[in-house]
Structure formats: C-alpha cells, structure tokens
C-alpha cells in the first residue's frame, strides 16, 4: 500500500471516532459524575477462588 493510501485510510478512520473528540481538542472526553459515584461506592467485591475452566 502506498503512503498516500495509508494516509487516506487513516483520515477516513478518524471520522469514525470524532464523537470522542469534543471541544475542538484531540483529548477524548470520558467519564461522568455517575461513574465517579460508582467508583466511590466500590468496596465489597472480592472474587472468591472460582476454579479453572476451559
């Protein structure tokens, strides 16, 4: 594949993730107050030994 084609495909692919690029910056906007509340409440899930599967 030529460099031009790779660049072209990269440009096309970028369109599909534009929803994460808010406020005109490349930084994705993630997380929410609700998520922070859920993290704040975490505290009682300790996985027991669950045994080998497959």
């Amino acid at each position: 594949m030529t460099n031009e084609k790779r660049i072209d495909e990269r440009a096309t692919a970028t369109v599909t993730v534009s929803h994460q690029e808010a406020n005109g910056t490349a930084k994705p906007v993630i997380g929410s107050h609700r998520l922070d509340e859920m993290i704040e409440r975490i505290g009682d899930l300790e996985l027991p030994p669950l045994g080998t599967g497959e």
């Binding site: 594949m1 084609k5 790779r6 495909e9 990269r10 096309t12 692919a13 970028t14 599909t16 993730v17 929803h19 994460q20 490349a26 930084k27 994705p28 906007v29 993630i30 997380g31 929410s32 609700r34 998520l35 922070d36 859920m38 993290i39 704040e40 975490i42 505290g43 009682d44 899930l45 300790e46 996985l47 027991p48 030994p49 669950l50 045994g51 080998t52 599967g53 497959e54």
Partner: protein
C-alpha cells in the same frame, strides 16, 4: 484426516490448487459467576440458576454413556447460539457468523441474554443474595478460564498450523502473541509463577506454557491443536483459538476476530508463503510474558529472520501484508468487510505506536481499565497494589448493567461502537441468515417439529403432519450453508450457496 484430496485442487486461491474458505467464525466463552451474600462460593449453583433462565431447548450431552462435566445442562438458543455449564463456569457459544461485525453483534446479543438470565435468576433469590456475573478470565488466584474464538479453515491449512509438520505454526503463534496489545483486557499482578507485574496487558498470557497441544485446562498451548471440526471433517476444519482475553469493547472484539480472519485467509491462500521467517518469533511462548508487560510497546523479541521487533512492529508487518492482500481483492467474500476491519486496525496501531493511551479508552479493554484505575487513584487514593484497585478491576468486567463500570462508560458515550443497536437487538432473537445457524433455529422454532437431540452439526427430530409422523436426522455438515435442503424457500440475505455438490464441496458464488 481423510478426504484431503477433495479440498486440494478444488478451487484456486492465491496459489493454484489451494482452497480458500470464507472465514466463518464463532466463539465459546466462559464467564465467572457466584452468589454474593453467602459464606460459601456457590459458583455451581449460580451457574445452574442462570442456565435455567436461558431461553432455549435443552440438548443432552452424553459422551460414551456418561454426562460430560464440561458440557452440563446445555441448551441451544433461539438466536442460533448455545449455553451450558463448563467446570463451574457459565459458557456461551455464539452462532456462526461470516462477518466480524456480525460476530461483534452476536457476542453483544449473547451477553444481553445472560444479563437477562441474571436478572430473572436474582429475582428468585432472597433480597440479601444476588448472582455476580463477570466477563473476565482470571480470579487472580491462579485460576483461568477461557475465551475461545473459532475460525473455519481447510483441513489442509489445519495440518499446516497444527499437524505433525506445521510450517505455519510459528506464524500463527507469533501473530497471537503480537495481538496482546490489542486484545488484552488488563490485569493487576502476575499469576502462574510468571515474572511480577503491577499491571499487565493480558489476563491470560501468564497461563500459557507450551507452543502447541490439544489440551486447554493445563499446560495451556498458545496454539490449540484440537481437531474437532463440528462439521464435515473431510472438507472443513476449525481453528480453536484459545489465547485471547474476553473483550467488552466493540473495537477489541472486532479486531480479535477480523484481524485473525485476515491473517488466516492470507495463510490459507499461500499469500504469506515465502515471508514466514519475517513473521515468526524465535520463541513465541517466552515472548508472551514480556509483551504482556510492555505498556510502552518498546520491548523487542527476535524473529527467525534475525530482526528484533516489538509487538507493534510485528503487527505492522501483518498489517502491511494484509493491505496488499485486500487491495488485490483476494479478501473479497473470504473476509466480509475487510476494508472496514483494516481501518479500525490501522487506527488502533497508530494510537498504540503513539502511546496514546487516552485515545485507546473505549476501544481497547486494557486501556479502558487502566484509565479507570487511574481515575480511582485520583478519587480514592488507591494505588495499583491496593485491594480497592483490585475491586475496580473486577467491577470493570461485571455484567451487572447498574454497577458494572464498563456499562457506565458506555452510557457516558466513551465506548466506540462498531455495530448498531438494531443489529444487536436482531441477534438477541434471530440467528445470522448466512450460516447454518439459520437452519438450526428454523428447526428449533418449527411448531410441527419435536427435536429429540441436536448438536452443532446435526439434529434429530420428529415431524408430524396430518397423515404421518416421521423421524428425521439432518446433518448440518457445511457451516456455510443456511439451507441444507430441508426448507421450501431459501432465506433472505443468502450470500453463499453450495455449488458443485457433485464434488461434495461448498464453494463461493463467483
């Protein structure tokens, strides 16, 4: 394996005389389940309560007159999938799909079915008890369970990967190792005597100890050589890929399946022959622990050609071969939507190369989990070695829509989706229309049919008409065929057809 001569020379692929089959896919993935609020683990009871709520038809699972402990209470579901209990883990097996995008939608649909089963089962438990259900691969105490993705290949290619003289084995093993930065779901700590790690990319890498073998529960092999086609073994083989982690992110799921489809298509067509040394690690198994601990993508391993590469370097080598393969049209109808898969692949490789971990949040599970752990450190001061961090890591995988952290990130719009809600909703109730899953469900749903027993590649049933009652045994030996001649009209969206039946071989329509 008998009947190889039928396959060889049946259809021209890249090299004259090589058959290339559409890269049909499926999965069999184990989940973790236990009952909270009890002093004992009760994983098996949790499994049985979940399985009782799954919508489907029970199938017997008797091998040589004995119940198989790895196949308990199996049901075939009305969307073409199946569920059962395997060694104390709920297991879901997806309906066969041709497109990797359909595979993502079926995976998501099956997760919704088990989530619904969990809600129904919890409603029958006392209020202080509930079933906890996680899509993960390890309890952090040395136990691992599987996420197996399956790919249709020819018996000839199966021998080249897993036979006695497997010249494609090093390439497949090296490819799987290099997928760790894409398919890893992230793990705190190390297991199974592997070198220590604060955080590593893969949940399962520490549990693989050998290069190739048939077993899956001990001394796990990077390449599983289980020769179990679940189809007409003269014409079809199934590569049972047991190495990957269980993904929740759509992009990771898509690439886990779609990129493997492309690499297997290139191998099967002979496209990579002559390039094998430049794609093969000297020691793929030893590389696993190294690359699983390489968050910066800088650790190198030696190839058979002598060059040293990072996991991303090796991924780019496969990617560039695939670019040329797809550009020549050879992936057409072998790997549906190959160009779209390539775009997602390149985008993720670019972000990995740039070490843009924030850009990978919502695309790759390990990056998403690492971001959550960092968020928890800021909010609650939990370092990666704290019990709180371990609980955050577990809750990332929880299938509880209200408490699971992945599902909240999704509601926040932080998870990139590659299939529509409409596709997922359709696959909750209906099978893919372009594989034998369609035929299986059509028989399952027929009110005039009483199914006596069934498996992936056969169904025994009694059909009752006004005048007679007839027992029939139907073989579904061609996984690509949605209409094995038992229905009046072919289904819509039938992309492939069985041609050259006189040769007993399903080939492509072109």
């Amino acid at each position: 394996m008998s009947g190889l001569s039928h396959v060889l020379g049946a259809r021209a692929g890249e090299r004259p005389g090589l058959t290339v089959l559409p890269k049909l896919t499926g999965f069999d993935a184990e989940l973790a389940a236990f009952i909270r609020g009890r002093p004992s683990v009760d994983a098996l009871e949790a499994c049985h309560r979940l399985q009782a709520e799954m919508p489907g038809r029970p199938a017997t699972a008797v091998v040589n007159g004995r119940l198989n402990p790895q196949d308990v209470a199996r049901k075939f579901l009305y969307n073409g999938s199946s569920s059962y209990i395997d060694l104390g883990h709920p297991e879901i097996c997806g309906a066969e799909t041709l497109s990797a995008f359909d595979h993502v939608a079926v995976w998501e649909a099956d997760l919704r079915l088990v989530q619904r089963a969990r809600r129904l089962a919890n409603a029958k438990l006392p209020s202080d008890e509930s079933i906890e259900l996680l899509a993960n691969n390890s309890d952090g105490r040395g136990h691992a369970w599987g996420n197996h993705r399956n790919f249709l290949i020819t018996p000839h290619e199966f021998l080249r990967i897993a036979g006695p003289c497997p010249d494609h084995l090093p390439v497949v093993a090296s490819f799987l190792a290099s997928m760790i930065p894409i398919t890893g779901t992230g793990k705190l700590g190390a297991e199974n005597g592997a070198p220590p790690a604060e955080f590593q990319l893969s949940q399962r890498a520490d549990h693989f100890e050998t290069l190739k073998a048939e077993q899956t529960t001990w001394s796990r092999p990077l390449v599983n050589a289980r020769d179990e086609p679940l189809a007409n073994g003269d014409l079809y083989a199934r590569l049972h890929v047991i190495f990957f982690d269980t993904p929740l992110c759509h992009v990771a799921t898509l690439l886990q399946v779609g990129v493997t489809q492309l690499v297997l298509a290139m191998l099967e067509s002979g496209w990579l022959d002559g390039q094998l040394a430049g794609l093969s690690l000297l020691n793929p198994v030893r590389t696993l622990a190294q690359w699983s601990r390489d968050l910066e993508q800088c650790r190198t391993a030696r190839l058979q050609s002598g060059a040293r590469v990072t996991a991303i370097d090796l991924q780019y080598r496969f990617f560039e071969h695939a670019c040329r393969f797809v550009a020549t049209g050879r992936a057409e109808e072998i790997v549906p939507d190959a160009t779209r898969i390539m775009r997602h692949w390149e985008q993720v490789l670019t972000l990995l190369e740039q070490e843009n971990h924030d850009g990978l949040v919502g695309k790759l599970d390990w990056a998403t989990k690492l971001w959550l752990l960092e968020r928890a450190r800021r909010l609650r001061g939990w370092n990666l070695d704290s019990p709180g961090a371990r609980q955050v890591a577990h809750m990332y995988h929880s299938l509880d829509e209200a408490r699971g952290l992945f599902w909240q990130l999704r509601r926040d719009g932080a998870v990139q989706e590659v299939v529509t809600e409409q596709m997922v909703a359709e696959f909750v109730d209906r099978p893919p229309r372009d594989t034998r899953a369609y035929a299986r469900v059509k028989l399952l749903r027929d009110p005039n049919i009483h199914i006596e027993d069934m498996d992936w590649d056969w169904i025994t049933y009694v059909v009752t008409t006004r005048t007679e009652r007839v027992r029939r045994h139907v073989r579904l030996g061609n996984p690509l065929d949605p209409d094995p001649g038992i229905f009046g009209r072919p289904p819509r969206r039938r992309r492939y057809r069985t041609a050259h039946k006189h040769r007993g071989l399903a080939t492509l329509r072109r």
